[in-house]
């Protein structure tokens, strides 16, 4: 199989600071910078490859380096261009959109808050009423089916309630996105876009938040992955 190196894009940010010397990213490939006007792309030359844990961590490490001095627009893992000319075309053709995105996230970072069910959690107060015994098999099937659907709906309501409570008690002007996760141990996850200077306060506020049945796991600062997720650029 021909494994030709292509242009792998990490993020786009203002063209002020170059990547640190000797910064390497996915598969150890050195990170380079391509500048067009006010915009810079941080990229590397590497053959296409599937994502794995090492790849994701390497991608994030480079984006974090960019985030260190100013908030970038992060791209999803797996963004390849045929060559530098194609990447330069993106910076030129989409300059307006990318500048608007940079302005939107400027001076801010993303923080994640994930709710995790406590291990020995008691059943939720709104547990189902058991179906009456002694029904026929068809009836029993329908009851089981109804219960399964009910359990899903209850889990969703519970996730929404938790997310609502976290939002209400942490929001304080931040932009918030909520994701309900189908994983029963992790009912929901929230992403907050907060000023860079408020990371420590934010962590403290999450730590002080007591919610019944769930623990809150805070992560970040991240580049604003969740807040640019709707952006789709065709080349």
């Amino acid at each position: 199989v021909d494994r030709k190196a292509e242009v792998y894009l990490y993020c786009v940010r203002a063209a002020d600071h170059p990547p640190p010397d000797a910064l390497s990213g996915v598969d150890g490939a050195p990170v380079a910078r391509l500048v067009r006007g006010p915009l810079a792309a941080w990229y590397a030359l590497l053959p296409r490859r599937a994502p794995d844990e090492a790849g994701l961590r390497a991608h994030e490490a480079v984006v974090r380096e960019a985030l260190r001095s100013a908030t970038p627009v992060p791209f999803r893992f797996g963004t390849w261009f045929a060559d530098e000319a194609a990447l330069a075309a993106l910076l030129s053709d989409e300059a307006e959109r990318l500048l608007a995105l940079l302005a939107r996230v400027r001076g801010r970072v993303e923080m994640g808050v994930r709710a995790v069910e406590r291990a020995a959690s008691e059943p939720p107060a709104d547990a189902p009423v058991p179906a009456p015994a002694g029904s026929g098999p068809g009836r029993a099937y329908l009851e089981r089916r109804r219960e399964a659907l009910g359990a899903g709906a209850r889990r969703e309501r519970r996730a929404e309630r938790i997310a609502g409570e976290v939002r209400e008690r942490l929001e304080a002007g931040a932009e918030v996105l909520t994701t309900l996760l189908p994983d029963p141990t992790t009912p929901c996850e929230l992403s907050f876009l907060i000023p860079r200077g408020e990371v420590v306060t934010f962590r403290e506020r999450v730590a002080a938040l007591q919610l019944e049945g769930v623990e809150l796991v805070v992560s970040g600062p991240w580049a604003p992955y969740s807040f640019v997720a709707g952006e789709r650029i065709s080349t």
């Binding site: 600071h17 006010p38 599937a50 991608h59 390849w80 993106l90 860079r196 970040g220 600062p221 650029i233």
Partner: protein
């Protein structure tokens, strides 16, 4: 045109050893998208990541969540 952007220093989390689920939720599932189709494998779990419509949740419960038009791989 030049934009000045040096911003406030950040207090990083502990050595950057963040949970894989938080990493996947962001680096694989969010961020700006250029291309449509990718076939990927995460932590030994094969996943088909179709077009722009996939939502990847966590390694332990990784599953496909596709919109009704998923699978065509068309650009959004």
């Amino acid at each position: 045109m030049k934009i000045e952007t040096t911003e406030e220093e950040l207090p990083w989390d502990d050595g950057g050893d963040f949970a894989l689920v938080d990493l996947i939720n962001r680096v694989l599932d969010r961020g700006v998208v250029i291309h449509g189709d990718l076939t990927i494998s995460v932590a030994g779990v094969d996943l088909v990541y179709v077009g722009l419509n996939a939502v990847l949740t966590s390694v332990s419960t990784a599953r496909r969540v596709l919109r009704s038009d998923g699978g065509r791989g068309s650009e959004g």
